[in-house]
Subunit: 333 residues, 4 copies
């Protein structure tokens, strides 16, 4: 009974069907009929003209965007526990050619205008200190917290006023939207987001994320950077096809709702143990080492986080029986 | 009737079946059962202990290896028309952090010990000129020419004597082996090759190449570089599974033989027009612009190469009827 | 009356004389007689065989060394207020090709074995998190605090046990030694230091620092990196000559003692205001904005540091009259 | 009697005097009175508003400019024997973050519009091939050949029409101007040059070159890159002062004329042996190995270039007696 990560779940059957269906001769790279539909599909989804590029990992999606937004000699402001800082092996430094991440604090891995402003104000405006070029936020965050549209808009306002770009790592954006019910447009470009890594892999996809560019003029550069990073698959149709399958009939939302519901079931089992409000598909609990061991002994797999804390992650296909069992086990601790 | 590139062909049905079969919960990244089988499978295939890593493109396979073999301040010797020079958008410069490619001439995109020695001797041994660290060869080459084991061994000897590493871009290694019938071991590590990009995508795979490390101590660094380049897929089992399917029952050889046979059929149609001996699945013909236009008009798709030259590439699934038609059309020019 | 920085002071007359004396035809780059004397001079000074390279700035000295000690995909542990983090415009990221600085806390910009161990322990040992490769310490620190030999040795022990290299930014090493009276060997290589940026520019030099390599096998790589970074001056003799002049007759120590004495005079003026013990040539005082303004009004130039703090830096040639006046002005606040 | 390189000559006495005169307390970095005069001095010299930055080597001047003109994923067209390709240890790759040099042929290390156009036309306009961003020319070239203003203007026209920037490596621009008598403005910005490395070190300076930016908006970025590369000297006044001394009273022209005259004297000794017209301070002669040895035996120091060729370089302070002796020795071969 696995609650380790949504990363490891199988792909949704419709995603596999789409891959199989796309397995025919077509133009190589992104010249095929599926890849060509991405711009239109995502422009409709986001209610504005966008460029939409398939990429095979979230790390690549994030870092290709950041490299286009931040030159090597400037920096990106992000939370201290942002995925780009803690889990991408320094990929931002590689893709940007040496730009810095400036690490900010903030409850639940969220940052606020005050935090960003304070971070910027600590930087002396001279040639000796690295000047910021962009802000990156994760929605939902690494602690399963959600930015509402108005919160993003407040950050977008700070970004605009300071001449910074705004990137959103949306590896779990579907889970955020499933919770808030907000429009994708409202929480992204209308709020000042320039580029979005729209995640599908944790949510039923196989190996395709979509990099959505609200500043469409960035596409040419990012397409070159994608190729240069070895990310231009010759049979890219298999990536485009899975993304289209996820968007079709709002499968992305359906899957996210399922994962979120499982997380809520777990959260209800022990509200007093919650370390963070559960707003997506991650549940962080205050649990002693002994209690954690007891849960592991019962066959539940999950991460022991920091001392006295555990992390439970639910997937689009989480077995309800396993969820019930874990909920009961937690309640019984 | 498409003879543009083997890049664009569909994946073999067995490859798709393997992907579907691997679509279940397992450890993320390369911790799954399929990924774990790669080292053993390729050690057997190559008759020595190797490390075998999946990578989603040939560019990534080549450049991850080169980055481990060549520091930023040294250079890689390769043919002027090597894929790493002409078709990877400068990826070697990106992955290595600025290393140079030193471009060599040579018939059919092949290089020889004499050419490599002359290239090295032109470099003054001081701090002002960039000193070489590695040689990269492509087998089969971009012109469909094949290196025999003894030719590779001669280059391996030069590499060893000059302290250079030797990388083989094997995007079409299957086609080379299908022609020569040589053992994989003989044309690679026994001949002094340190790292091999073993290509499957042009040969019936979907989006997985295998980076084979004969110097197994390179694996740790390359695994970090793979992650850092955004190439560590969380559901890596789908990559491993396709590679295993290609190796299983020697599907890789069977597919390559089919593609090569189609190329031979085309070559026989007009031996006097051949610009290069046909040793793999590429046919370069001397054809006037008018003749080329006539072929295009008959529905054949292919690249017009340099002035007066065309390139025909055959795939594992090339339709024999189309091959016959093209052969006849060429013969009738 | 300037207490802004030791960076801006004139060079010592003997340094200029040495430059003038070296102004004759000799081999270019570092082939001249002065450059060739560096290894021997510094081997004697450090009581062991070293390689000693001239470099024209402290940033270049630090970052050339760090690039040789830390590959692009690993990290360097340093204090949050280390010069390499706060004042080098991201140069470590540039020279290393994207390596990270992991920022540590610590009183007076000093770090300890406990702090380093805790910093390392927070890093998960996997491919997702950037693994450390080196520790960098500044002696004296950016707050004018000094590492004693035994403190460095304790850090050296941690470095050795964790497989990390140890770099010392010695932009103000002379000031540290002038205070402790310790042997250079004891506070560097005997304590586990691998590379040292030995600073002269803040201490009476004009534009030459000396990069001292206790691991002499690093020299070849660093010489190439120096050239590649545009730091191989063709008339390098002028850099070597000034370094030799600073070492000759222990001018470096004499100058540092003068600067330190001036700092002590200031420190004695208001011991209750000291934010840090004064161990080198920097004095940090708790001073209100009004008091600071009053000092500025009297013609004293210095940095207002954080709110309620000022920084006073003394130079080798600090005018005693100005020191007395400032001391009196502080005492009179 | 040394004819190896103008790199190794002493600095002119006025340059040393200027350094000594600037050795007083002033603002650090480039905030001093000498550094502040550069923009004005060079704006006057070039008859237009420019930004002028001191840099301590020609490699740094060239590569800081190129990094601002060419992103990591594009290329710079230059001659196969350009200094940036053959003598800077791969610095362009380092400073740009991996951009390529595309190497062109051309008599005397000069390139022409036809050569540039042919070079560009060979590059396919797609994402697989690296697209050019800039052209770099050297004036005078590595073979002592000179570009006239109209030749530069023709290249400037190609650059403009193709959207490429144009950089001039003017390590020996003084020698070129001394020969042609053209206005600096005509051979640079009026001809379409965007950035110029104006060399002084080979021409009587000690360690300061001037990077002249005709596109003044590049200054902010280049100033950051200069700091980040460890090239922002804290006592930068010593660099500015030498440049000002070289410009004052046209010392740069006077020195170049002296060096050129010495080269002409050598050229007249054996016009039939000249490999290139002598237009600056370099003389390339066709000389057998035995003849070369004979010259070396007579105490003349110089480079044996390719087989059967020697290179003689004259400096601003070349001893006329030595020149006469060498001329006689050559004539007597």
């Amino acid at each position: 009974m696995r609650f380790v990560s949504d990363n490891a779940a199988p792909a949704h059957p419709k995603v596999l069907e789409a891959i199989v269906a796309s397995n025919r001769l077509d133009s190589a790279y992104d010249g095929d009929q599926w890849s060509k539909r991405l711009d239109g599909t995502f422009s409709e989804l986001f209610e504005t003209e966008v460029k939409a590029l398939w990429v095979s990992t979230g790390t690549a999606a994030n870092c290709l965007a950041l490299a286009a937004l931040c030159p090597p000699y400037r920096s990106i402001l992000c939370h201290r526990e942002a995925h780009i800082e803690t889990d991408e092996a320094g990929a931002p430094g590689f893709f940007t050619g040496g730009a810095k991440l400036v690490l900010l604090d903030g409850e639940g891995a969220k940052i606020s205008p005050e935090i960003v402003n304070a971070g910027c104000d600590r930087i002396w405006k001279d040639v000796h200190q690295v000047q910021p070029a962009a802000i990156s936020i994760t929605n939902a965050t690494e602690y399963g917290r959600v930015y509402r549209a108005e919160e993003v808009a407040a950050l977008g306002e700070v970004a605009r006023s300071r001449g910074l770009a705004l990137h959103m790592d949306g590896a779990r954006l579907a889970n955020a939207i499933a919770t808030t019910g907000e429009r994708l447009a409202d929480v992204t470009w209308r709020a000042g987001v320039d580029t979005l890594s729209f995640g599908f892999i944790k949510n039923g996809g196989l190996n395709a994320e979509c990099l959505v560019l609200f500043r469409t003029e960035l596409a040419d550069e990012i397409e070159v950077r994608r190729k240069r990073a070895g990310h231009l698959s010759s049979k890219g149709r298999m990536l485009a096809a899975q993304i289209l399958a996820m968007v079709d009939g709002d499968l992305w939302l359906e899957n996210a709702r399922a994962a979120n519901a499982a997380a809520q079931a777990l959260a209800r089992a022990a509200p007093e143990r919650l370390l963070h409000p559960v707003e997506a598909n991650e549940v962080f609990l205050k649990v002693t080492a002994e209690e954690s061991a007891a849960l592991h002994d019962q066959g539940f797999e999950f991460y022991d986080w920091r001392a006295g804390e555990i992390r439970l992650v639910t997937s689009w296909d989480q077995d309800p029986v396993a969820v019930d069992r874990l909920a009961s086990a937690i309640a019984a601790l």
